[in-house]
């Protein structure tokens, strides 16, 4: 199995989820992260003191899928998460050795 991690712009989450859903991905996990990258941060001012905030709000999606599906998932994310502007984010792929569904104890692709 492959674990695909995507760091995307927060407002793309719903669309990405729907796209993956259409591919037959039954589940995924998401959370808010702070991203630092080419996309510049911004400056805030509090009582005259300027703070530079380098991190931008992003959402990270993690989804473990069968090897066959990995490519399609990647493509679907690229398609739905892309706005064409800097800061659209990255997709990273890792090998996942084992998966278990806690409720049933099912293992491997069945657990997904």
């Amino acid at each position: 199995m492959k674990k695909i991690e995507a760091i995307i712009k927060p407002h793309r989450l719903e669309d990405v989820k729907d796209a993956l859903n259409k591919l037959g991905v039954a589940g995924l996990t998401a959370y808010e992260v702070k991203g630092y990258g080419r996309q510049k941060g911004h400056t805030e001012v509090y009582r005259g003191a300027e703070y530079t905030v380098d991190f931008r709000p992003k959402v990270k999606i993690e989804v473990v899928v069968d090897d066959d599906l990995a490519k399609q998932v990647e493509d679907a994310i690229i398609e739905t998460a892309r706005t064409g502007k800097i800061g659209d984010g990255k997709i990273f792929t890792y090998d996942c050795e084992a998966a278990v569904r806690i409720r049933t104890g099912e293992r491997g692709p069945e657990a997904l």
Binding site: H11, E14, H42, T43, E44, V45, Y46, K85
Partner: protein, 407 residues
């Protein structure tokens, strides 16, 4: 010069403080309903009104509203004798010092302007907003206050508006409608999730509004007398009853009674009773509350039917509630409660209803037309909306260089 009554003065001083407090309350009420990236800009809309409108009121607003009506334009605006609050110190209005009267009335000018802002929350440039409310307060609010309370034409015709159903609620809602239409929909309207970000904040805001509304309505008696007590009672009971009718409908339509529904219903009831507060008894107040709560519950879906993005339901609550309240005043008003008032439909007088209707229509027309023009003009000159990307990042950051929460 009539004598100052210290009891009355104590009451109106405190009422003025209460009405001022409604604006930070509104900031919370509205602030909790937007997305967290816009909490400050929404809050700022209200808070800034406390600054700009107060100064404008002192300089010209008060005199436009409450200057003498003897001049040729006296039916429409007051004379300019009180520019810069000249002649106010040392004068007496009714049984209270005029500075107290001027400040009490000034607080109404603030909250009215702030109410409008719910319509274009999350998508207006701060500079555009600032210019808009400054001009609106001078061109719309102060003249309207003159029409209804300052000896202008509506007052002369005999329309009843105890504490500002037309001047405050209908006027702000008409401006809100113009704003929603001209400013346009929020990016992502209809698709993105505009769920309120902090409902406990909104409920606190509603609590403060309710609290402050006693100053607003009971204070409008301008004395700590029986009438103030009656208005206080009507205010409280209408708010309560409207909460119940809203919740009942919500339960019926969606299966659950919500906290936001309770807060919204209460505010609707407060709006509805505003024109009527000093003219009706307790059971009429409950009736007004029940009806207003129910009609506002349906009112908030107008925006979907007509396709404008009135983000925080100014039209649905203040417009519908203010109109319903003004008309129900024409139904329930009775001189048994207030001799200085008039009898309404139930007391056998149908003509009041007509006056109320005229007041409503005139206010809507006047406020909508000028507001629409103002928004259009500002849009042409400096632009109303931030860049798309800025709207997406949120106005707190793009307009104010701040972040609401770092928890």
């Amino acid at each position: 010069m009539p004598a100052i009554d210290f009891g009355d003065t104590a009451f109106i001083l405190m009422s003025a403080a209460l009405v001022l407090f409604m604006t930070p309350g509104l900031a919370l009420f509205y602030g909790g309903l937007v997305r967290s990236k816009n909490v400050l800009s929404t809050t700022m809309h209200s808070f800034f009104a406390m600054g700009i409108i107060s100064v404008i009121w002192a300089v010209v607003g008060y005199t436009i509203a409450f200057g003498g009506s003897d001049g040729p334009l006296g039916a429409f605006i007051g004379s300019f004798e009180h520019v810069g609050l000249a002649g106010v110190v040392g004068d007496v209005t009714g049984t209270i010092p005029t500075p107290v009267f001027a400040m009490f009335q000034g607080m109404f000018a603030i909250i009215t302007a702030a109410l409008i802002t719910g319509a274009f929350a999350e998508r207006i440039k701060f500079s555009a907003y600032a210019i808009f409310i400054a001009l609106w307060s001078i061109l719309v609010y102060s003249p309207l206050a003159h029409w209804v309370w300052g000896g202008g034409w509506l007052m002369q015709r005999g329309a009843l508006d105890f504490a500002g159903g037309t001047v405050v609620h209908i006027a702000s809602a008409a401006a809100a409608l113009a704003g929603a239409v001209v400013v346009g929909k929020r990016k992502g309207y209809g698709t993105a999730n505009f769920q309120p970000h902090n409902l406990p904040m909104t409920v606190l805001g509603a609590g403060i509004l309710w609290f402050g509304w006693f100053g607003f309505n009971a204070g409008s008696a301008l004395a700590a007398n029986e009438l103030a007590g009656t208005a206080f009672m009507a205010t409280h009971l209408s708010a309560s009853a409207a909460m119940l009718s809203w919740l009942a409908l919500e339960k019926y339509q969606h299966g659950k009674a919500t906290t936001l529904g309770a807060a919204s219903g209460a505010v609707a009831g407060l709006v509805g009773i505003t024109p009527a507060a000093g003219f009706v008894g307790p059971m009429a107040a409950i009736a007004i509350g029940l009806v207003t709560g129910a009609l506002c519950f349906f009112g908030i879906s107008l925006k979907n039917r007509f396709g404008f993005d009135d983000s925080l339901d100014v039209v649905g609550i203040h417009g519908v509630g203010g109109t319903v309240g003004a008309l129900l005043t024409g139904v329930f008003a009775t001189v048994a409660v207030n001799e200085a008032g008039a009898n309404g439909l139930l007391a056998g007088n149908a003509s009041l209803m007509l006056e109320q209707l005229i007041g409503v229509v005139a206010t809507i027309a006047f406020s909508f037309v000028i507001s629409f023009g103002l928004f259009k003009a500002i849009d042409v000159v400096i632009g109303l909306r931030p860049e798309e990307a800025e709207e997406e990042i949120g106005l707190d950051q793009s307009e104010h260089a701040e972040t609401g929460y770092v928890l």
